[in-house]
Symmetry: C2
Subunit: 408 residues, 2 copies
């Protein structure tokens, strides 16, 4: 019996040729040489080496230690490179060239695949914002007056965006409960997750030029899972009036794989009906394509499923967020990353943060390791996701995982 | 009479050999070749060319298009390079080599001298925070409960940090006054300034390792003036609950010159007495050197002096801000920039924003061009500053200037 080719994937493999996410890897033999790779099944194709082997004109974009040159090359290049890659992994005549360039995923180390320019995080799930409002402002309106008029966002720390698999050191800082006379210092006792979908900007835009709603695909290269780790006790004490700072800036984990937007064409879906009229720059009622993505997220702690946040329920879309972020003339840079904000659905088991799942620690849940309200040292959080693809095949998004290690 | 050397400076020149700020320039003849320069009097020395001419071992750090390699080289290198530069501009024997490498300031173009990694802005003047609190929350406490326990900060947009002299396009966005039933869209009608002092990080720190108060000089290379342009109407509508976003992200102007910390040794001064006990990581009562800097800022609009904010009055110091920013384990990168927050003194003519100077537009002031509450198109804002130097000589900080151009 001939040896099975890594390119002969099981039917319905969520990382088949319809997906082809990008990442950056090293091998044990050459741990310093970062290379752009494309995931196919449970292997990664050395994309630069493949381009060379096949005499492709895209070798200059693919034989790189980072995704940034391809990101900067623009939408036409993204499409053409994707077409070429699809041919390389599907056309039988290429197999002799391609197969030797495939590395099993468990034999490589994945790295942050792009250099992050600015990192912005949004707050775009109505269910999440309503839950948070009810928890923190039980006597007021759950949503602030601006919430349905604009996608609320803020800048996060780009320098602490880390790749999936990186341990997360429990942050220390100030916290103060109403019972405390003064703030106390110590490791966070309310360490939380936020299940999000991130978007990666490729094509820059000049200062002073807003990016229109319809230009989303010209600027955004792809998407990935993101865990916006949050220390709720630090955040609660610091965030009035200028927003989250140390409660978030210690780490933001992103998946090692970036899924091209084109791979999610079949997952486009209409966002929820809007309750209030939107200003023209945000009005997507006449958009050419639906602005949402039907991405189904699963959140597991120590391997146990705790939530299934549905990204399709987000009130604000990624295109609206991009239009809003630039409407004041702010420029985009290659490598800008923005997070959707915590994804929470209407059901209890669809909440994307422990803050919501446990109602700020009031309702513990059981794990085999013991009761949990927030994260304990040693806990490992893993988010996975899939979306509907062509012909009923799923599109897998790369996981984002991280383990909590004790405070220093 | 022999031609006067550019190195023969008038007595007391604030840009004498005691100062030597760094910048990046191009000449009209070679507009694409960015070079590191050091300001001496009204000239800029081509630092890389000087290092080559004198066979200096620092040519590798100085023959660069950006300050980043020198920033990354660390404190010992900073000191040694500064010593070398001081010798080059003061030792008569070097004059034949140095003089041909001096370019008049008015014959060069200055550029952003470093690549900004993360940009953080603080809120550290008690006078400013009190004024803002009184304006926006007239019925509540002027300062939020956390204000005297931690230096409040937030991340800004690194990608829209621009060098002095860059025009600022009036941003558009949503605003809503209490009288409006719904938000309206349009150019900001409350475009403001914030006079600040910025700090530039050279030496990085690893993720998970807080930087102690006493390690400030190991990480921070230098300082510069910063104008944190602010659209108050956009900001007021958007900033609850996650802080400023589009009200700030359209532009932040920084001076073209970075003053090394050593040049400000004589300007170190004790911060105001603290009203509440500080947690140990912020407690500078036993610090080896005073944490403040006696930098005197002047703010002019269209050449007319409107305010003189005294940096020495800041409640929180730059060292405290650095310690706070990293106490949760957040890493530092070479090129991280942080702003002090608006500098406002106790007197009306020491306020560092038009919001305060005009009490949110209530009290207009007169310019030859007409009444002003906030900025009009065409207005040019220029901030200059000096600090006490050795032997009673002033240390000049490079100006930061920008002109408002109409919204697109």
């Amino acid at each position: 019996m001939p040896e099975q080719s890594p390119l002969d994937l099981p039917e319905g493999d969520p990382f088949g040729p319809h997906n082809l996410p990008y990442g950056v890897f090293t091998t044990a033999g050459e741990p310093e040489r970062r290379r752009l790779g494309v995931r196919i099944g449970s292997h990664v194709l050395d994309a630069g080496a493949a381009a060379h082997a096949l005499g492709s004109p895209y070798a200059g974009l693919l034989a790189q230690p980072s995704l940034n040159p391809l990101l900067a090359a623009g939408r036409t290049a993204w499409r053409d490179v994707r077409r070429a890659l699809t041919a390389w992994v599907t056309v039988p005549a290429h197999r002799p060239d391609i197969e030797p360039l495939l590395h099993p995923l468990d034999a490589v180390t994945m790295h942050l695949p792009y250099e992050v320019a600015d990192y912005v995080d949004f707050y775009a799930s109505e269910h999440h914002a309503t839950n948070v409002g009810r928890i923190f402002r039980p006597d007021g309106d759950a949503l602030t007056p601006n919430w349905k008029h604009l996608p609320i966002g803020y800048h996060g720390r780009a320098g602490t965006v880390v790749v999936s698999g990186t341990d997360v050191v429990r942050p220390s800082g100030q916290r103060k409960t109403p019972a405390d006379a003064a703030p106390v210092f110590g490791p966070s006792v309310k360490l939380d997750i936020e299940a999000e979908v991130g978007f990666l900007v490729g094509t820059p835009s000049p200062l002073g030029s807003p990016v229109a709603l319809g230009d989303f695909r010209d600027h955004v290269f792809g998407t990935f899972l993101l865990n916006d780790w949050s220390a709720r006790d630090l955040q609660a004490w610091e965030y009035v009036p200028l927003g989250p700072f140390l409660g978030k800036s210690f780490a933001t984990s992103v998946a090692a794989w970036v899924t091209p937007l084109e791979a999610l064409d079949a997952a486009r879906t209409a966002p929820p009906a809007r309750d209030v009229p939107l200003l023209p720059y945000l009005d997507d009622s006449e958009a050419e394509e639906p602005g949402g993505f039907d991405v189904r997220i699963s959140v597991a702690i120590n391997g146990r499923l705790v939530s299934e946040p549905p990204f399709a329920t987000m009130y604000w879309t990624a295109a609206q967020q991009l239009a809003h972020m630039t409407v004041n003339g702010a420029s985009l840079r290659t490598g800008d990353v923005y997070g959707s904000g915590t994804v929470s659905g209407p059901e209890v088991n669809q909440r994307g943060s422990l803050l919501e799942l446990t109602w700020n620690g009031r309702d513990a849940f059981e794990l085999p390791e013991g009761k949990r309200t927030f994260l304990e040292d040693g806990d490992e959080v893993t988010m996975t996701a899939w979306a509907p693809g062509p012909d009923g095949v799923r599109v897998g998004l790369g996981e984002v995982t991280g383990r909590i290690v004790p405070a220093v």
